[in-house]
């Protein structure tokens, strides 16, 4: 007696889950249970927000500086400040006109108005969206991405990227932003909707946040319990790192050695996601996408298309029959040259489908088939006029039917795929050793002692993630305190180069203590009181004296001695541009930048010599190659060489902080890559077109376009001399005078793009 398929399926799921038996469930061991003491709750990061007495970022910073007898540096020059502001808010340089307009505004609140204007730009969301995509671990592929040529595109993943850009541009409150990303699908009733409203679509797109973990289960050989659980582990890891600044993954195998995170808590968190990433009724990535229309609408469209296909089918069959009869006639004619016995057998064999042919028939077809098969052109010629007319009419009817097909786009969302199943703790982190059942829940150390999480089904979903999202941001709790601290620290890091807590991804015991704990708590409090809005916080920080001070001092010896690493911010930090900002500002300088916001990623071309370039043949329009770097197809590895050499993240998990290497390959890229050379020529042509024809005016324009300021007297002289020598060299190699001048100037522009002044924000 065999098992029926549903029984086999139940067995398979049971085996996939590690074949748990009641005996294995057992109860939690002491270590698995863990314990969280009152003292644990007093750790600075796990406390509720403190309310310090001081009332501005400057006040907190100055208090620490003054302890060491230090103070802020003088204010930065307005040109420097403008460049700093443009890059920090938009990731792009200001044009000379924009700088002039700022300089011309002599009112005391000129900088404030500049910041306001910048924060309203649609490019703000691109710049700050990239920061968030780093912590989310975003890539346009879904798998682990280990083969250069094997590109596994997550169709419509980019809609999450655009969601992030939009949310930042709209200054969506951070508590709302998090809730949509963690539980957007549970916040709207999309399952039963007749039509998806833009709001529903937005909420579904937002959950792309939880679809960033590498998922290779599309490969049937890898669609195993282990790989399914790895998707879950990685999702929990990315989410907690991004939102809570904690590394909880140690607790996958044992109660955390340093932080008060019991192993039980880890599996409680995991079980928030098991209804959607359900190891027992798993959806492979190819089946996990959603249509950008309501499920009902999708079903209707599918039905509609199917019925059109049915209508078209008889017409297509008639077309095929007409062609076939013409082909058979031709074949018979061609076969006349063959001996009669073979001829008959061959023609019979060719009418038989390949799979049903006898070995003899196969042999005949192989030997003589090609010789008697007419080309498509010959078939068309053989058709009688009437036949051709009929075919043309039928084909146009098919086209008309086809034109009525309706379509929908795809997006990648997270949503519950089945009823929750009991989540079992994995002993020693091994899913094949299931332990006791664990209730869904939150981190004990961030909850009121004795509190139990409650979950209500909502909008056809378990409601677990929605409850979690609410728990994260409920005012006055240790959880929302940590969430706010982590976020304001990120904002601080992006404006001042280094977080108040650095590294920014470990607020636990082994992580670093904040350099200014009171400042951090004050900022977090202000952030929450201000309705969790990011833009006002950025503005507040940019208007501080700390932000507006110079990055250099004439004689910093006393400061260097008292605070060698500038941890206390007695000057602004000198910061290198990130990879995307480098490429984007090259394009901005040359005038080639295509500022279009949003849309499908630009396809890349992966060459055998290791070069990764923009795929020219897949460009929808030629200007697309000059889109901002944010829009280039993003992989976990294998990104545009120019970006990867400047430390664009390897997105195995997420990237809370970019590294900042200074390796020789960067110099080689800036110096020899064809992109830089081409852009330098475009830049030179732009200068020749827009600046006054005198060499000095051109030099000045090139400086302003690249490093954002006018050249000094010495720089003017050095540049002019170099350009003179370069022009001579071009002339001696046969270039005409005007051409030599332009080429020499392009070489000069290329040198400017290679300077540290271009690469760093002062």
């Amino acid at each position: 007696m065999g098992l029926k398929p549903p029984q086999v399926e139940i067995l398979r799921q049971w085996i996939d889950a590690g074949a748990p038996s009641a005996r294995m469930y057992g109860s939690l061991s002491k270590d698995e249970q863990g314990s969280v003491t009152a003292q644990d709750r007093e750790f600075w990061a796990f406390r509720k927000l403190q309310h310090p007495a001081l009332r501005s970022a400057d006040a907190f910073l100055l208090a620490k500086l003054q302890e060491k007898g230090l103070g802020f540096s003088p204010a930065a020059g307005r040109v420097t400040l403008a460049r700093r502001a443009w890059f920090d808010v938009l990731g792009l340089p200001a044009s000379p006109d924009q700088v002039d307009a700022f300089l011309a505004d002599r009112s005391p609140d000129a900088f404030e108005r500049l910041v306001d204007k910048l924060l309203e730009s649609p490019h703000f969301g691109e710049r700050w969206g990239r920061h968030w995509l780093d912590v989310a671990g975003y890539a346009d592929v879904y798998g682990v991405d280990s083969n250069t040529r094997d590109i596994r595109t997550g169709e419509g993943k980019w809609r999450y990227r655009d969601y992030v850009v939009r949310a930042l541009n709209q200054d969506k409150p951070y508590d709302r932003f998090l809730a949509e990303q963690i539980a957007g699908d549970e916040m709207v009733n999309w399952r039963d909707a007749k039509k998806l409203t833009p709001e529903m679509l937005e909420h579904l797109e937002a959950t792309g946040f939880l679809r960033t973990a590498a998922d290779d289960t599309n490969n049937d050989a890898l669609n195993s319990a282990l790989i399914r659980y790895r998707v879950l582990y990685l999702t929990v890891q990315n989410m907690t790192s991004a939102v809570l600044g904690l590394t909880v993954n140690c607790a996958q195998c044992h109660t955390h050695k340093y932080d008060p995170i019991p192993q039980r808590d880890y599996y409680s968190l995991l079980s928030l996601f098991t209804p959607s990433y359900n190891p027992q009724s798993w959806l492979q990535t190819k089946d996990r996408w959603l249509a950008d229309v309501a499920p009902r609408e999708k079903a209707e469209i599918d039905r509609h298309n199917l019925s059109l296909d049915e209508q078209a089918k008889p017409l297509q069959q008639r077309i095929a029959a007409l062609r076939q009869s013409a082909e058979e006639k031709l074949r018979a004619k061609k076969a006349e040259s063959l001996p009669a016995p073979i001829r008959e057998d061959l023609l019979a064999a060719m009418k038989t489908p390949a799979a049903q042919q006898t070995p003899v028939e196969q042999y005949l077809v192989r030997q003589f088939g090609r010789g008697v098969t007419p080309t498509a052109l010959e078939v068309e010629g053989q058709l009688a006029e009437a036949g051709r007319v009929t075919i043309a009419r039928l084909e146009s009817e098919v086209r008309e039917i086809r034109n009525q097909r309706r379509s929908y786009g795809k997006l990648q969302a997270l949503y519950d795929v089945g009823p929750p199943f009991p989540t079992l703790l994995h002993r020693r982190g091994n899913h094949e050793s299931p332990g006791a059942e664990v209730e869904p829940g939150f981190l004990t150390v961030l909850s009121e002692p004795g509190a139990r999480a409650a979950f209500d089904r909502v909008n056809g979903s378990s409601g677990r993630r929605l409850a979690f999202a609410k728990w994260l941001v409920e005012p006055g709790t240790p959880a929302s305190a940590l969430v706010a601290r982590v976020m304001v620290n990120r904002i601080w890091q992006h404006l001042f180069g280094v977080g108040i807590v650095d590294p920014p991804d470990n607020f636990g015991r082994v992580g670093a203590r904040p350099s200014h704990p009171e400042l951090l708590d004050w900022l977090a409090g202000e952030f929450i009181r201000g309705g969790w809005r990011v833009k006002p916080l950025i503005k507040k920080l940019m208007l501080s004296d700390a932000y507006r001070q110079a990055s250099r001092r004439d004689d910093p010896s006393a400061e260097e001695a008292a605070d060698p690493g500038n941890r206390l911010l007695w000057r602004m930090r000198l910061r290198r541009l990130e990879s995307e900002a480098i490429r984007d500002s090259v394009l901005a300088a040359s005038g080639m930048l295509n500022p279009r916001v949003g849309g499908e990623p630009i396809a890349m071309d992966y060459q055998s010599d290791g070069r990764v370039l923009i795929s020219e043949k897949n460009l929808k329009s030629p200007e697309d190659r000059w889109r901002r770097s944010l829009y280039l197809f993003t992989r976990r590895s294998y990104n545009l060489n120019m970006l990867s050499v400047f430390d664009s993240p390897l997105m195995d998990a997420n990237c809370p902080r970019r590294t900042n290497s200074a390796v020789v390959l960067q110099s080689l890229t800036m110096l020899n890559d064809g992109f830089l050379i081409d852009q330098s020529e475009a830049l030179a042509a732009r200068v020749f077109k827009t600046a006054k024809p005198a060499l000095d005016a051109r030099i000045e324009m090139a400086f302003r376009l690249t490093i954002g300021r006018e050249p000094t007297g010495e720089e003017r002289r050095d540049s002019a001399e170099a350009i003179g020598r370069l022009a001579n060299q071009y002339r001696t190699t046969g270039a005409g005078v005007p051409d030599a001048e332009l080429k020499a100037f392009a070489a000069f522009c290329h040198s400017l793009l290679n300077t540290n002044a271009f690469l760093y924000i002062g």
């Binding site: 280990s146 083969n147 250069t148 040529r149 590498a214 050989a221 890898l222 590394t247 140690c250 590294p503 470990n506 636990g508 082994v510 992580g511 670093a512 250099r552 060698p564 500038n566 000198l574 290198r576 055998s608 290791g610 590895s637 294998y638 060489n641 430390d647 195995d652 998990a653 590294t659 900042n660 290497s661 200074a662 020789v664 960067q666 110099s667 080689l668 890229t669 110096l671 020899n672 890559d673 050379i677 000094t712 010495e714 720089e715 170099a722 370069l726 060299q729 071009y730 190699t733 070489a747 000069f748 290329h750 040198s751 400017l752 290679n754 300077t755 540290n756 002044a757 690469l759 002062g762």
Partner: protein, 482 residues
């Protein structure tokens, strides 16, 4: 004016002090954690290993695909005798095509070779000549039956992506002896990547500076090493001079920012590297006999032969770690013989075997073998049961690798598999054991080579979890880091 004062001054300073004397430690702030004020080394200055090294350099010949132990190095008379009979164990398999679970004899005869009497199958025609130079390990085990994971394991010691590779750890530990070349160089088929591509030499969470640098074995050795042909040497020099002038003025404003100085030096290093890398990789000066030895006169062996020869030249020039990858044709995992052992194994041997043996001969005749550890290893082995009737599926439970030079016992066979080659049963050796042993030969105690990451001291061998140990049995020297 091609050799301005500035650039000459820069060159002098560079050659006198070397790149690493700049306080590169401030370049990146990775791994800085309160309570653990350990600062990671952030430069490539040569640093002596903590222990007396037995080898100065490693050449890792990566054999992607899973070379079949019972058809190359590990004769199994019992398996051959029971050809076509059901295997007593249900083999632990990766893919389909082996459902019948029937044993398959090797299509090749085995013979003993050399004074040591090492066994090789008849498909190997050049390796027998180096029998007395190599140490065969028949008892390797891995942890995954899929290429991606098993290769990551061979590279990093674990099956999950994101960790630093062996070469990156070695470079982190030892720096680079040649300041005009990277310390860790990768040579792959110019036509493309094998499985896992650049992950095989990734630095993971170690600073990117320690990742392998790809040198192309044809054409330009490093991406963007030289300017496009349209840019003359004079123009390039003029650009470099102007960059140096403009940067110098900028640097003076920021005396505490050593990173600026590093970048200034990098521009000169870039120019020097163009010369050094081009010189090292220019094999036109090699005598005809050497070229023939490596099979450069044969289209089948030319490509892999070129990489093996370059590996020797790089090691001679002071590169510490060279990784050589196999051909990507006929398959990008060339040892992956699922269809026919009899046809597929000879096909890959014809491309790689002669150059491999040539490398050992050449290193020996130059007196380099003693201080160079050559590692020939794939990610796993193959099954005793047939797949698709004449092929074999992956097998993580047993595989054979060999080492040569660098203080390993020549002509020695270590460990054994069961009667069918299915499972390593005697002196099992894990990938982490192999890593520990390689580090030991370089004078590095694998337990002490650590990097602070994510709240813990990480290491290549993660000894607390893996129990990795240096395998003294295969060494002629003492285990310094027992």
């Amino acid at each position: 004016m091609t050799d301005s004062l500035i650039s000459r001054r820069w060159l002098l300073r560079d050659s006198a002090l070397g790149l690493g004397t700049v306080a590169l430690a401030q370049l990146m702030t990775a791994g800085r954690v309160s309570g653990a004020p350990r600062k990671a080394r952030m430069d490539l200055t040569p640093r002596p290993p903590a222990l007396e090294p037995r080898a100065k350099a490693v050449i890792q010949l990566v054999q992607n695909g899973g070379p079949s132990q019972m058809d190359l190095f590990d004769p199994k008379p019992e398996l051959n005798k029971r050809h076509g009979q059901p295997f007593h164990t249900k083999a632990d398999l990766q893919g389909l095509g082996s459902e019948s679970n029937l044993l398959m004899a090797s299509p090749f005869e085995f013979r003993k070779h050399g004074r040591s009497g090492m066994d090789f199958s008849s498909v190997l025609t050049h390796t027998p000549a180096i029998a007395d130079d190599i140490c065969m390990i028949r008892s390797m085990v891995s942890e995954h039956n899929n290429h991606t994971e098993a290769l990551i394991m061979l590279a990093t010691g674990k099956i999950f992506r994101g960790r630093p590779t062996l070469g990156a750890w070695v470079t982190y530990a030892l720096g680079s002896e040649n300041q005009n070349l990277p310390g860790y160089v990768v040579l792959r088929d110019p036509e493309g990547y094998n499985t896992n591509a650049t992950l095989n030499w990734d630095a993971g969470w170690l600073p990117a500076l320690y990742a392998g640098t790809e040198f192309q074995s044809q054409g330009e050795p490093v991406l963007n090493l030289a300017p496009p042909k349209t840019v003359s040497g004079e123009v390039q020099r003029e650009k470099l001079d102007l960059i140096a002038r403009l940067n110098e003025a900028h640097r003076k404003q920021y005396p505490a920012e050593s990173e600026l100085e590093t970048r200034i030096r990098n521009y000169e290093l870039a120019a020097r590297m163009q010369l050094s890398a081009t010189g090292v990789l220019d094999i036109s000066s090699e005598p005809e006999t050497t070229r023939k030895l490596y099979g450069l006169d044969n289209p089948l062996t030319e490509s892999y032969g070129r990489r093996c020869l370059m590996a020797r030249r790089l090691v001679e020039a002071g590169v510490r770690f060279v990784q050589v990858f196999p051909p990507i044709k006929p398959s990008f995992q060339p040892w992956d013989s699922h269809g026919s052992i009899k046809q597929e194994v000879p096909r890959i041997c014809a491309r790689i075997e002669q150059p491999t043996a040539a490398l050992i001969h050449d290193l020996r005749s130059r007196g380099l073998l003693d201080e160079t550890l050559v590692v020939w290893a794939g990610e796993f082995g193959r099954q005793p049961v047939s797949q698709n009737e004449t092929g074999r599926d992956h097998n993580k439970r047993a595989f054979s690798i060999w080492l040569s030079g660098g203080g390993v016992k020549p002509g020695y066979i270590h460990g054994a598999t069961d009667d069918f080659g299915y499972e390593a049963v005697d002196k099992r050796m894990t990938v982490s054991d192999l890593h520990a042993t390689i580090l030991n030969q370089l004078g590095i105690d694998h337990r002490k080579l650590t990097y602070w990451h994510n709240g813990r001291d990480e290491s290549l061998t993660d000894v607390a979890l893996t129990g990795a140990r240096v395998v003294g049995d295969i060494l002629t020297n003492e285990v310094a880091a027992a």
